[in-house]
Structures are given as structure tokens and as C-alpha cells.
Assembly symmetry: D2
Homo-oligomer: 492 residues x 4
Amino acid sequence: MTLLSPEPRGLLTGARYLAELDDGRELYLDGQRIGNPAEHPAFRPAAEELGRLLDLQHQPEHRELLTFKDPDTGLRLARAYQPPTTLEELRVQRRSAEFWHAEALGQQGRSPAFMASIAVGVHDFRHRLGAADPRFGANAEAWYRHCAQNDLVLSHALGDPQIDRSANPLDDPDLALRVLSENENGIVVRGAKQLTTLAPLAHEVLVYLSASFTQGRAEQFVVWFALPLNTPGLITLAREPLGTAPWGHGHPLGARYDEQDAMLFFDDVLVPWDRVFLLRDADLARRGLARINAWSAYVGHIRYRERLRTLLATATLLAESIGVSQFRNIQEDLGRLAGYAELTEYFLDAAENRGALTDAGLFAPGDTFASRVWSAEVAGDAVEIVRRIGASGLLMQPSPGDLANPRLRPHLDRYMRGRDIDVEAKSRLFRLAWELTGDGFGQRQDLYEYVHRGDLARNRITVFHRYDQSATRARLLALLDDPAANVQEART
Amino acid sequence: MTLLSPEPRGLLTGARYLAELDDGRELYLDGQRIGNPAEHPAFRPAAEELGRLLDLQHQPEHRELLTFKDPDTGLRLARAYQPPTTLEELRVQRRSAEFWHAEALGQQGRSPAFMASIAVGVHDFRHRLGAADPRFGANAEAWYRHCAQNDLVLSHALGDPQIDRSANPLDDPDLALRVLSENENGIVVRGAKQLTTLAPLAHEVLVYLSASFTQGRAEQFVVWFALPLNTPGLITLAREPLGTAPWGHGHPLGARYDEQDAMLFFDDVLVPWDRVFLLRDADLARRGLARINAWSAYVGHIRYRERLRTLLATATLLAESIGVSQFRNIQEDLGRLAGYAELTEYFLDAAENRGALTDAGLFAPGDTFASRVWSAEVAGDAVEIVRRIGASGLLMQPSPGDLANPRLRPHLDRYMRGRDIDVEAKSRLFRLAWELTGDGFGQRQDLYEYVHRGDLARNRITVFHRYDQSATRARLLALLDDPAANVQEART
Amino acid sequence: MTLLSPEPRGLLTGARYLAELDDGRELYLDGQRIGNPAEHPAFRPAAEELGRLLDLQHQPEHRELLTFKDPDTGLRLARAYQPPTTLEELRVQRRSAEFWHAEALGQQGRSPAFMASIAVGVHDFRHRLGAADPRFGANAEAWYRHCAQNDLVLSHALGDPQIDRSANPLDDPDLALRVLSENENGIVVRGAKQLTTLAPLAHEVLVYLSASFTQGRAEQFVVWFALPLNTPGLITLAREPLGTAPWGHGHPLGARYDEQDAMLFFDDVLVPWDRVFLLRDADLARRGLARINAWSAYVGHIRYRERLRTLLATATLLAESIGVSQFRNIQEDLGRLAGYAELTEYFLDAAENRGALTDAGLFAPGDTFASRVWSAEVAGDAVEIVRRIGASGLLMQPSPGDLANPRLRPHLDRYMRGRDIDVEAKSRLFRLAWELTGDGFGQRQDLYEYVHRGDLARNRITVFHRYDQSATRARLLALLDDPAANVQEART
Amino acid sequence: MTLLSPEPRGLLTGARYLAELDDGRELYLDGQRIGNPAEHPAFRPAAEELGRLLDLQHQPEHRELLTFKDPDTGLRLARAYQPPTTLEELRVQRRSAEFWHAEALGQQGRSPAFMASIAVGVHDFRHRLGAADPRFGANAEAWYRHCAQNDLVLSHALGDPQIDRSANPLDDPDLALRVLSENENGIVVRGAKQLTTLAPLAHEVLVYLSASFTQGRAEQFVVWFALPLNTPGLITLAREPLGTAPWGHGHPLGARYDEQDAMLFFDDVLVPWDRVFLLRDADLARRGLARINAWSAYVGHIRYRERLRTLLATATLLAESIGVSQFRNIQEDLGRLAGYAELTEYFLDAAENRGALTDAGLFAPGDTFASRVWSAEVAGDAVEIVRRIGASGLLMQPSPGDLANPRLRPHLDRYMRGRDIDVEAKSRLFRLAWELTGDGFGQRQDLYEYVHRGDLARNRITVFHRYDQSATRARLLALLDDPAANVQEART
């Protein structure tokens, strides 16, 4: 087992995490090879915020919630890596994830907790993988344990490159990542993955989905595996950083939570055999998708709820700060936003109520796929409510430099204050709202809500196909067979 | 106890129900006093359909689900009248209500099961009513037992007359039902109630809500009581019947499910003391509202889900019948409709997951108030999807008379058939769809979804006020106090 | 010229119109052959209302606006039949159509004025028809003059039968009306037309459109012709009447304006050669569509504006009558509705501003196709605003019978009045609003707005294909070729 | 006349414009006093782009369209400053403005042409101003001539500071700019103006609107005047620049078109008497608003149409570049966007058709106020369509630095190309789309569409109040007085 460490290192600390990022990965930004992302201004703040959150696991007051004792090793591991076996254990997972995402204001789509829950899904699915090939089942389990026992920060690579959505990868193999060859050491893969969130800041990446194999049957595109980001031949290209700014106008939210997205290029990368979990079995891959994502869908809703709560609290503070919070139309808008947060909580509750044991003995939250469509539908409106309330004030706020200028300051105090709030506090509030909803960072967050749940039209069609109409349909057809049965229609 | 029968009659049969409607009530339609609604063409079909459903309780295959054995009397009573004490018992209630509303295609907003669950709420709240006045608690309990043990069909009267929404009942007492006087026999009430659904077909009406007392403090408007519909001085004015039609074009759905709505006029009606449950205590009344409706809100969602399923199955059948069910935009619309039905199920699941014991020892579903707002928001769209798919075919379908005409028939067979469906079946299907969504009956059903959940804007504002933002707000304020804490902003 | 009357009869009167409907046409309702629609309760009120409007042409105060002097015959003819040759003449047409549609509250989609403007379009297009076959040009012109000089009430038949939208008429010829054969007397057509509005009350029907020939190239489906409704073999099947009602609750609006829709069956109908305008030339037919409808599209907007104004005035009266017209959210809704009416007026103004002379010398309003999409998009919302304001009051209003009952009347006076309006006036107002928006008639009117403009998705795509992007596209491509031209990007 | 130059300088060149910005104005950015905006990286690119556009006036091929010969001075002046006296002249203005805004891709909300048309409005209104005080009329006219003859770049200051929307300036005078005192030299004003777009790059600012005086009657807030931006005591505080970026990812659109917004602080500024146009006359000020903005509203629509066309062409290019332009749902979305652009053109046409001569003899476009509401309503959706089509590609595109890296380049060529487009062109296209819709610049542009037309709810209410319902209302009331007149309701 070439890539798995022999000795588990246990729970991460912030310091260890930052140190481990310096692993020689081939990472580029704006054409420059980045030596160590943890020391580069475009990545450092987000890495440090991740480190801060990881350190919370070690604080005595949070340890019980955020960690558990691994029965095998006796180590304390991150709660998100614990496979729940009862509803109660699932609810502990929920509270743990709520804590994390509340700390991060719902801004981290690919939080370690989210990805750990996919590793739990892989663990749960190991028997099925093993039924196809015993090595694959063992590989999956070994990888899960490796991740859990070393508290790894993971990412996953999903979408195919956005080259030509009307073309077929059988005609143009660049369109999807593919298995080029295999040898005694492993398989060689070539291709690219679009927009792998958090890749510059993760230890490993899990590859398991391609639109190409869910649609077609070309087995060369069907493969599940995981690799460290410093694997030779694996190139990470970061997008333009959105949490940095040239002037002195603060962007602390973006700096902390720009989790980055990256293209991954697989330049004929060797995936060792012990990192392969599935090969060429499209049916198994399709069935596995819903299974391994059962817990992450639940964690995703927890994260989304915190995002909605952040938008709601921000909108409410904005409204109060400019004296409009008593207006009925503003309250109605805030009520719509509060309703979004509340409905998201209902979906979590429903997932628990529908939960059941898997064939591997884990307690999985029930499927609430239709809520995914709903989430994508309302995401833009939630942002829009904040923007409408903040309006022009989102753009026009003094910077710390402005506030420090004695010629300007009296005017700022007088004309840029709000209702019961001074200019310093108000300007910080509005700039936070602008970051959340308006500038590049905020718009990337909004776009993420739209794209990461998959194509909206396709998901709606899936909801239709999944819905069991048989009982209602039978009743209607019976009624149509004899519409007047038992009813004497009233005529006059 | 003047109005309560000494001997419980147990489960209703259809025949007994129809006979009991002939109780001398003062019911008017189009200016005519109606002697017995069960024998009048405008009411008979809906009464008979109710009777048919009540008879199902007696069928051996449904008895276990639809009834329970009353521990006090040993009688079998309707399941909806059983006070659940555990989650499991609540889920039995759910299955029972699902059965009823599936039979009625989600068309009966005021089904006996819905109203029975409010009686259960009154039973649950009896101790609080009794704390204000011991007689009231005892009255409430006696009334619940009377209803349950005689399987009464109930209605409730909510809205104030729609006279002048900007006026105050303190200035114009006609605006709300009020207590005029009291004497040794009871209290005398005067006024009116708007749109009491099912009143012409119910045994009794429960009066417990007025916008006037939830807003103001005028104690003369605060009263809870229940009365038989044949109480002297209580006048029931039915609206225009919507399930009847002058021509031979079938309207079987409307005929069956036009549950009627009526104005109630209280012409100085004496309410005997043993029918009074609350008097002049506005705070208690306000607190009681959510409590006594906990189960009915849950049953209301069950009913709504069946309505949505009926709309979905109808839309799907329409699409298949004219060869459009494979079009992606149609499938996307059907997916939106299926999503509405699915989300409604999540809300039911959430209510179970949030359920808890009341102080009276009953297991109450958790509150999902925000889903009420959502339900009203999507109701019109659900109907619109069916209408858009059916389009002009909703209007133009042959009647039985047309089909029977030998000159017309060959043309109907040829040009008014559909895809894999003959003209007879297709015309019945489209006419059902028209009844569901287009004609007076269908539009009344749609309007009901919009109005019976209360004013949408006010409900949104309520969601805002109820939402606990404190944790997120505190986190944001801490961040705003020191935006740069732990973050070294990236500048270049 | 077999079917054209030798002697022009000039302007219709109501009496002559009603008499002329008794022409032996083969009209069915509910399986019964209707002898004379003008004497049948399902058709009489709408026919009489049409007659009343036709009589206005003869009133001295309206004659100048509603009629013009035909230069050929010296007869006064209906203004709508006048071919405008200048912008000023077009504006007179507009005022004339505004007068008519205001009188009819925007409820007559197929008003005589609307159809006359299509006859004007045929007149305008006669040279092109004649270029294909000189007889066809002459036929078209003779038919236009016949219609104009006898003031005929016309209909047109558009949609194919709604049998199977995924099938092809080449595989199943019943799917579209087709030319079966031709002989020395004319052509023989077989098939059906879906939902020909006003057919039971019109003199003639113009047939000129089929989805089949705009998509495919099968020339047997390509034909333009016009026929009297009493042509042998032409069967008219009326749909269920929506303006009649069994109880005493008034439906005067529906009675007046249920213009009826009907299936037409062509049972191997001989179309005389002098009634054929186009045959087998799909390209010409396609090009002709926009041309002959130039004026009717304009008149259609005039009608729609009056409908929107009727909805607006009704909503405002409703709001005033129940004391909500000062609420800001109600005013905002009324403002949206007023905006719809106002924008429709802008589209009319734009059509005038874009107007130009045709190659036949007529002044045609400019095309505003995109406004057709907009109109269909907002139609449902306009109705919804009225319904939301009226709410439960739309359902619950006393009938004349109720008002006449002395036991009920005091209660109606007290509890069913409104703000500054007594119960009689209020109940009439709310019942009008219910007819407009809620009952079968109102829903048919709403559905008409949605379906008569053609498929919404297809129309949107047409807007895209028609839009000339070339200039903007060229500018963008130039910019993309050299994004930094003339700009020194600011870096810090 | 202290501030007006004695000798007209005629048409601006880019070079003269850049030079004139160096006028000693008190401009701040991030706490720093900016000496000359034309030489500062945050302002230079936008100033140079303005200069480039101004230079087009001098090119022989555009001179005829973009300039006119001033009859008084014989100078050629900018077309936008020409007061149109006929519809034809107005249409020349339109073509001229279309040229400018097409060049600027619809990104300059406060283009010189837009503001010049307000100066024309002041010129048109001079007689009314003069009727109140002859000096004011003369001042207005002199100022208009000064601006026109020197081709000044203007801004205007509208909104009050966003301090407390529920408070009243009578209680807290800081809430609105006010006249503090007057003396023989002029009036002294104190206060601030929110978000004066283009102020850092304009010669002068026109002040004429405050929500305070349109609502209340406090005459100290009622004043119209104009001042150069370098007037002593007038402080301009620029917001955070949005067209600059720290990394090498190009932002050429933002650099060019970030027209800046600024707070203006009036630190007891003396406005010379000859710059005062109106004082304390709230009624006149209110009436003047619509008048002086008649032309600018028209120019604003021209600009908006170009923005919509830019969004449409961008969306179409995006769709083509990734192979989705043939998908029906994409074409439907593009059709909605094309419809927005098309409707905007109809509004321009309508304004021409409704145009009329003012009492000062100018030809003014007709009012299309309701289209302003529509414009704000659809603005966000137009942006959203582009974002949905671009999706994740908006975020992930290589920078010039990435493209220049030989290790990366082969992978970029292979995996980041599009359909028939190489990676260089595709990445420039997507980055343009991101600038337009996603990053800080694009979001500011979108927010501008929402806020600069005024509060949406208030505007809707204004549409309602302005709409003349009298004719429809009278007709409905007549019908309600006698619903059965001329109609024999059909009963069966």
C-alpha cells in the first residue's frame, strides 16, 4: 500500500495542517508555480482559517462534540469521520456539523466535515465494491481508515471539462477523464476535471463521477480512485483568487472563506492499484453515487442552512442600521428569507425521520433529493433580498483609510452613520454584506449554490421520474372508468 | 348538559349521517329555505360521497386502520378522534388520514378527519381552559367526547365578515362576532362568520378564532364555543353551488367534492353554558390557537399532499394522452409538480421528527409553520402546470350526448382521440382536469389553498418574527467587532 | 362565384345579424342539433350582445368613428374593414377598435373588428397570392370585398386537433386538415380544426394555418380558403357553454361574452374554386402569416389592453369596497396591474412608430412580436391580483334570491355590506369579479390569453432567432480580439 | 457670473478632458487626497475611455451624427446638447446616443450624453424657473449654454444619505442637504449626497432632487443649483474601485467602465447666486422633475437597450462556445433575453409616438414611466441568464500568465478550449462574461439598474396613482347598476 502512511497521526492541528500543505504539489496560480500554498498571500488566509477551525477540535469544551474515540486505535478522531449506526449517533453528527458550519458562517462548501462524510459513504459501500473485486473493497476501506486516522482534508473532482456539451467523449476522448492503460503498478489516467473546489488546500482528491459514464456506456471513463494532491503528473491550476483586494477596503470574509476552485490536469498519472476502488463497472458506479453521498447531502443541507441564516442575520442588521426594519414590505422580505432557513431545517428533520440502516449496518439519513432542487431555486433570491435592502450602501462605505483621515472623519461621522450605529460599525456591516452578496467572492458563493447541485432542469426531471405515482394514478383511472359511480350528478 | 346526547351512538354510517342532516337547521340557498340538505340536488352528491367514505370505516379490511377501540366505552370510534400518545400512534393517524384523503383525491379541505383532529386539540388543551375556569375545561372535554363517541362531522368558523379591513370592531361592532350578554342559561352571541366551509353538511360548528381578538384587546370578541347547526337563531347561508351544471357535460368531481362554504349569521344565539370553552381571555385564546391546531396542521398537509399527487397524476395522464410526455420541458414541469408533492411529504416527516409530548401527555407533531407559507406560494403554480399541459383541450371535449350522436361519433373517434387513448377515455380525463383546475369548482379549490392558511404577507412576517437569529447574530456582531481577527488580509 | 352574394347588404344591424344566423348550419351542442343559435339559450345572450354592439355603428354619435364610406360602392362600411393607407388612418382604426373593445370590456377575443382586420390583411396580400396563381389573388380580393360590403362576422380556424403532438401527419393524416382531391368545382378537404372561437356565431370561417405545414413540407396540408359556416359537410361542435348557470346567482358577464369555441369537422367538404386563396405553396403560406396578421395583432393588443383595464378597475373597486385600497402592498399590486395596462399601450404606440407602407400601399403597424410573449407571461398574474384582493368574498355573495328574502335581508345588510357600499352593489361587484377571474367563463378567458398566442416556449425561441445581434456581436468580438486596446489596466 | 467661462471652448477632445480633470478638486480615495484623477490608476482607465469616446466626435465619419452646429456661436457642439424641436431631430438624438452607448456596451449609466440631455431639460424648463424668479430662469439658461458650449461632462446628485429611512429631516437636519444661509454672494449649503455617479470624473454636478422635499414641505431642503467639482468646501469621496485587480487575470471591461460613484460632502459650500436655479419652491421643484428628465429618461432607455444587447450577445457567444446553443431550453432563455432588448426598443418607439412639443417649443419624448418599473424588474434576470449559461466556466479560466506557461499550455489547449474556439479566445470571452455579471464591477452595474430608477415599490404605486381608470370604472359601475340590461341570462 504505497501511498498510505504506516502510522496514523490522529487529529489535525492547525499547525500540522499548514505544514502538511508544503508537500511539493504542482500548484499554479497566474502562471506561477506556488511552492507552499500556506505561505502564499492568495491561499494563506483561507488555510489559516481552516487551521483555526481544526484547532477547535482540541479545545476541551468542544472535544466531546467534535471528536470521538476510534474503537480500533483508541485515537480521538474527527466526529465527521465516525460512521453513525443509530439515529442518535446521526444527530450527534448533525450537531457537530452545525457547530463547524456556524463557525464558518455557512461559507465553506467543501468543509473537511462535508468531505469526511463522503469518506464514510465509501466505507459504507465497501462491500458492494468488494463484490465486484475483493481488492477494491479492501482498498476503499483502507483509504477510509487512512483519511479518518490522519484527519485528512479531502476534495472531490466531479465535472468534466466544459468543452462542448453537445459532443460525445467517444468521438473526442479529451472530453472526460479516462483510463489510458494499466500495468502491474496501477492504472494510468489522462484528462482533466473542472472546478475542483478546495484542491489547492486539500491533502487528497477523490475521483468518482463523470457525466460521461452516467449517460453512456464507455467503460474507459468509469473509474473511482483517490490520490494525494502531490502525486506526480497531477497538476492543480487555481482560479483567480477572489478574497484579495488591491485597496484598503476590508474583505475579511472573502479572505477567510475563498476556498478556491481549481482545474485538475491528469498528465498520464499512475494510480497505484491500492488506490483504485472501482473500474469499468458503470452500473455499480451509478448505484454507488446516491449511496456514498447519503451523509454528505445531509451535511450539505446543514451548511446551506447556516449560509441562509448568515444572509438573514445580515439582512436584518442592515435593515435595522438604516431604519427600515419596521417597514412591512421589508419584514415580509425578511420573512421569506427566514422561511428559506426554516424549510432547510425541515429537510434535515425529514432526512432523520426517513433514515434507515444500510446493508452495511450504518444509519443513513433518508433521501430528500427534491429539496436539492428547491435549494438551487431559492439561492439567488436569498442573496437578492440582502442586496435590495442594502442597496446603494453596499457600494459606498468608507475604508479604514477614509475613517482615519481627520478632514473626512467629521463628515463620515455625520453623514455615513446609521440609525443607532456609528460609521465604523455601519461601514463594517455593509462591507460584510457586500462581500457576502456583491463582490467576486460573494458571487462565486452564489454561483456555487447554483452549480454544485447539478443541472437544475435535469434534477427536476429526475424528481419526476423518481416519483411513485402508481397509487394516485390507479385511483384516477378507476374514477375515469366510471366517473358517475356512486354519484348522482346534480342537474337542475 | 343540554345539547349533548345521553347515549353515544358510535361510528357513523353513511345512512345515519344522511338521516342526521335532516335536523331542522335553518339553511338557505338562493333565498330558499332548504328542508333537508341530504335530499337537495345542490348538496346531495357531496353528502353521499361523505357517506360513502364514512361507510369505509365499517369495512373489515379498513376497520383496523380507520377506527380504534375507545378504552372508556369499549366502542370503536373513528381513528381521527384518537388522541395519540406516542410517535407510533401519530404515524397510525397519518396512515389513516392518508387513506381518507387519497380516497377523496385531496379535495376535502374540511374532511371529518381534519376537524376531528381539532377536537383532539381541544381535548389536549382542556387543562389550560380549566385553569381559567374549571367549568370550561370540563365543557371542552365533554364536547370532545360527545363528538368522538358520536363520530360527529364538524366545521369551524374562523374569519370575520369581509366588511372593511381598515375599520376597527370597537367602532363598528358588526365587524366581528361578539358576546352580547350572558344569563343563567348561557351567553348570547350576535354577529356573523365568513365562509364556514362544510357548514351545510356538518353536525356542529366550533367557533374559536377572530382576527379582532388576536389584534386588539376587546374582550367582548373573545369567546370559544361549539354549537349544533340546528341551534335556534343560527342561520346558514350557502354560497352558489359549484358542482352542478346545466348541460350534459359531466362534472362528477365537483358534484362529489363541492364541500360548500357558507356564511353563518348568529341572530342573538344563546350558547348554553356547557358549550362555552373560553370567555374574554385573549391571551389564553392566542396561546391556544397553535396548540389546538397542532394535529390539524399535520392532517392539512396530508390532505394537501394528496391534492398535489392528484394534480401530478392528472398532468402526467394528460401529457401521455396527447403525446407530449417525452418532451423535456414538459418533464421539467412535471418534475416541479412532483417536487411540490415530495416536499410536502418532507414537511410531514419533519413534523414527526420534531414531535413532542404536550403537557397533557399527548404526542403532538412539531410545528412547521413556514411550510404553510410555502404551500400557499406554490398552490397556484401547481394548478397552472396542469392547465398549461392540457391547454385548449381542457375546454373542448365532447359530452356524453355528443358521443351518443351517430352523426358526430365517427368524427369524434377520429379527431378527438389521443395517443393510445380513445375519445371516451380522453374526454373524461380532460374533463376531470378541467374540473380540477378550470371551472368554478376547481377555482374554488385553488382559492381555498390561498385563503385558508391566512394572509400570506402576515404569515411571512410571522415567520420572520418567530425565527431565532440570536446565535448567528452574535457571531456576526463578534466578527464585525474585529473583522481582521485571525486573518491577515491578502494584499499584493 | 357561387358563394358570394350579388348585392352588397352594407352595415349589419343587430336584427339582421340575428336573422342571418338562422342559415341552416350544422351546429351541435351536447349531442343536439341546434336549429338557430340566435334562439337557443346557450348562444342567444352572446349573439344579442354582438347585435347590440353592431347597432352602435348606426347611432349618429358613433357613426363617424365606427364606419367609413366605401369609395367603390358609396356604402358606409364598418371601420375595421377599411384598409388604412396612412398613419392617421391607422390611428382612426385604433380609436374605433378601442371604442368597441372598451364597450365589450376586453372580453371578445374574436370580435368582428379583430377578424375584419385579418380580412384587410388578406386584401393587402392579394398581389402575392395572385403572383402564385392569378385566380387566387382575385378570389382573395373578392372575398375581402364580400366580407366588407356585407359586414360579415368572421372566425378563423387555426390549431390542428390535439391528438398526438409527437406524431407526424405524414404517418397519420387525421392529424391535420388536408386536401383530399380536386375537381372542376373546387377542392375537397377532410379533417378537423381545434377550438375555432366564435364559430357558432360567425357567418364565415377563414382557414389558413396549420402547425403541420409550418414545420414540414407536406403540400397536401397547405391550403388557404374561406367558407360560410352553413357549407354542406361542415360540422360545428360547440363546447360546454360557460355563461349559463343553474341557480339564481347572476352571471351577466359570462352570458354576454361567452363567445364560444368549437371543433370544426370537415366531412369531405367541397371548397369552390373561387374560395381558394392559396394551395400547396408552403413558403408563400409561411411568409403570408405575418403579413395578413399585421393589423389583427395590433387590434389584439387593443383588446388585451381593455381586458387589463377591466381587471384593474375591478381590482380597485374590490379594494375600495372592503377598505384595503390604502394598504401599500395592495397599492403595489394594483400598480403592477396598472403597469401591465400601460405597457400594452406602449406596444401599440411602438407599432405605430414602427409602421410602414406595404408593397400594396397599405399602412401597416410595425411588428411587436416580442410583446406577444410578454402578454402571455403576465396574463395569469393579472388575474391572480384580482383574485388575491377579492379572496373569499369572490365565493360568498348573496344571490338576488337571497337579497329578496326578508328573513335574510337584515343580516345581509349588516354583515355582507362593504366600506361605503351596500350589500346589493357589493355583491354585484364581487360576482362580476368572480366571473372575470374565477368561474368557468373567467378561466376560459384566462386560458385563451395563454393559448391563442401560440406556444410560449416556441415563441420565445422565435424572438431569439429573429433578433439581429450582428452589431453587438461584432463589437464584442473586436473587443475580445484585443481586450487591452486603449486601456492600461489598473494594477496596484 | 463668477463660475462661467467667458470664452466657449467648444467640443471636448480626450486630451483636453483629461487635462481639465486636473482642477484641484478635493477628491479622496481610501483616505488619500488624489491630486489628479486622470493620472491615478484607479481612475485613469475610465477617464481615458471617456476621452476616447469624446475624440470620436472629431472623426470625420462620425462628426455629422455626433455633433451639430450651434446657431448662436457657429461652433460645433455635441449632439446631446442640441435641443430637439421636431420628431426628426429627436430621432437624430437617438441615433447619436445609440452610437455612443453601443461603443460603451451600455456600461456607462452617466454618460456625458445622458447628463447633457438633463441640461437640455433645464434649458427647456427655464421659463418656468424664470416665472418664479427671473434671475433663476436666466441662470438656468446661462448654465445650459456654458455646459453645451464647453462640452462639459456633468454628474447629478440625487439621493439623501442612507442614515435612517424612518426619520424625518425636520428632526435631524443631517438627513438631507439644506440651505444654511444666504448672503449677497450666494447661498450656503450644508449636507451630503449619496452615491453621485461619475463625480470624480465630471466637470460639474447638478443638484436638484431630494426625497425630503418631494415628501415633506420643509423649504430649507428645496434648492436647485450646479457647481464645478472643484468648488471650495465640496468634498468628493470615491468608493472602492471595482475595475482594478491584484492578479494578472484581465479585467479590461471593469477598467474601462467603472464610472465610479462617490459621496459628496458640502462643507458649508457657497453657491454663487448665478448658479442657483430654484429656491424653496417645492411645488415647482416637484413639477420640474418629470420635465427636466424627459430626454434623459429616453437616453437612459437607449443605454439600457445596449446593455441588454451586450448581455444577449455575450450569452449567445458563451452558449456557442460550449456547444449548448442548439438546446431548446438554452434557446428559450436566450429568447427571454432577446425579448427584454426588443421590448426596450418598443418603449423607445412608444416615447417617440407619444412625443409632443413643450411649452418652450422643444420636442419631448412621451412619458413611459411604467417601463422604468419593468426595467428594474427584469434587470436581475437578464444577468442571471448569462450566469446560468456560463456556469462554472465563469470562475475557472486561465490568465495570460497561465497561457504563457509552457508546462500548462498543452493542457489548457486541450482541456480548456471550447467548441470551435481555442483557449485564448474562450478564456477572454468567459472573463468578459464574468466581469459583466459576476465580479464586483458586474454586480455594481446590476445594482445600479436596481437602484438608480428609484424605489421599486414606490414606483409601482406611482404607476397605479397615475393611471386614469375613469372610463373603465364608469363603464363597470354602469354595468353594475343594471347587470341584466340587454341581457336575458341563460338558465336551463
